[in-house]
Symmetry: C2
Subunit: 326 residues, 2 copies
Amino acid sequence: MHDEYVLGADVGGTNLRIAAVAADGTILHEVSSPTPKTAPAQGVIDEIVSAAQKCVEELADSPRPKSFGLALAALVNPTVGRILRAPNLPQLDDLQLVDIVSDALGLDVVIENDATAAAIGEHWLGSSRATRNSVFVTLGTGVGGGLILEGRPYRGEDGTAGEIGHICVEPDGVPCGCGSHGCVEQYASATAIVRIAKELAGSDPTSSLAGKSELTSLAIYEAGVAGDRVAQQTFATMGRYLGIALAGLVDVLNPGLIVIGGGPAGAWDLFIEHVRTEINERAFQHPSKSVRLVRASLGGSAGILGAARLAFDSLQPRAQAESSLY
Amino acid sequence: MHDEYVLGADVGGTNLRIAAVAADGTILHEVSSPTPKTAPAQGVIDEIVSAAQKCVEELADSPRPKSFGLALAALVNPTVGRILRAPNLPQLDDLQLVDIVSDALGLDVVIENDATAAAIGEHWLGSSRATRNSVFVTLGTGVGGGLILEGRPYRGEDGTAGEIGHICVEPDGVPCGCGSHGCVEQYASATAIVRIAKELAGSDPTSSLAGKSELTSLAIYEAGVAGDRVAQQTFATMGRYLGIALAGLVDVLNPGLIVIGGGPAGAWDLFIEHVRTEINERAFQHPSKSVRLVRASLGGSAGILGAARLAFDSLQPRAQAESSLY
């Protein structure tokens, strides 16, 4: 049926997902398993390899995949095929992953940062399809990002570009896991939303959130929709800080589109107006008017699809690939 | 002698400079005149046209210039040849400058933002010559910037990209002329350096700067070199905030080089260590280690040379220009 397909994977701190993807972006089959977080590096590699083999075996009638694109929650150098730093899977730091997985599977392998892969996926099949310059923001445990500039993924000197989660929005603000203070990740991630709500609810006993220890960003969103002022104030704060960071990117990159994805993006109606206000008030008028803010449209599959797209692109001769989308 | 040359101009709020530039970047002849700030738009245009004619006439033995590149202290859209907004010369707002100057001189004309033109000049002949991805920062009355990404000037959707002076470094900080608060321009420009020094000297009567009403960033630098603690603290503050903004750009753009130019860059030894500290403490380790901080090397001619380079590039057929440096 599908003579030509590739594998696309998204390896996160919690789950490892691998899919067989056709050239038109159709997901033919997908397998997933828990990421063996505490295993040594070889254990993680073995799990990636066996999940890839399982995905191919279960796709009974199809031939071998043409290539394998692997997105990871890590700083990676895609050009040399190396993981630089994986905060959630530190056993993979400095690993020449491309060569190891390629040898194990007998397949060409390319790697990419998961947020950049998601940006590529959204640009291939999702919200930023028709836009030449876009910023992809993913809100989750942290805040990640990926850039599509001049129609191509922009990676910078070492492949690490796009880390917008660590733009400073409060110079003496909340300490961040990265070692800095006041990163936008500390004000706009799911983790930050819960922290801010707890802080605000601590001084407002009338809030439906007061005294609750097990809060999630979804529960806070639902409380906000039901009229809880602390919950609404939480998303106003979150939107303000996200807007401060994005206003700077609007002035620096003059993008046509900012695509926002990840779980907390579901609270769109409670925060986006605050993001827009900061951009309008802080960025220059022309780039501020040009930029549209939209939700990501591929959900959790953006990373897998972007990784698959890179795998397809790697099949082309270099000159041809240069003239293609990426 | 020089059969082929172009004109390059740098039109600032104070001076208007036009030079005849050879293909190797040699400045063959240069004229300058005060910018007629209070004249209507036509008066500014007439001055540009007559200065261009004067420059050509004084270059006795040479033929006509091949093209004219015009850098302006304004947001411009180089693709359509239009000035979007010129804060220092508001009479030029929304002017289709390329067509007007081209008709008056009978020459092809291209326009560019002055900081982006300076970035192009430094990439052609100056500090960022060998670097694929670099950020150019110019410190003056304000803070301007230009980006060279993947070896080409990056302009964004409308041509306004690179405005790094309005990255927010204090969300409720000093009001900025742009309408926002706490822009890095309010902490790292020549104007800001004077303001910060006056604030600090106001509470330290032992400072050599105390009570002086006519301060310049140069005088503050000289006091700092002579050991004045207020002056040194001023550049520490300036360097800290510039470093906060640049740390964000290091994470987002992963550049190989940040080139810093403009008058206050002369105080390099008093502020650069503070910039470096913020980048090291705030940005990720890999991009932070990759990026070098260097001084601009073309001085006040960077904008003229960048404009001239664009003029030369505009002579090439499109396909050939695409494969050239820009």
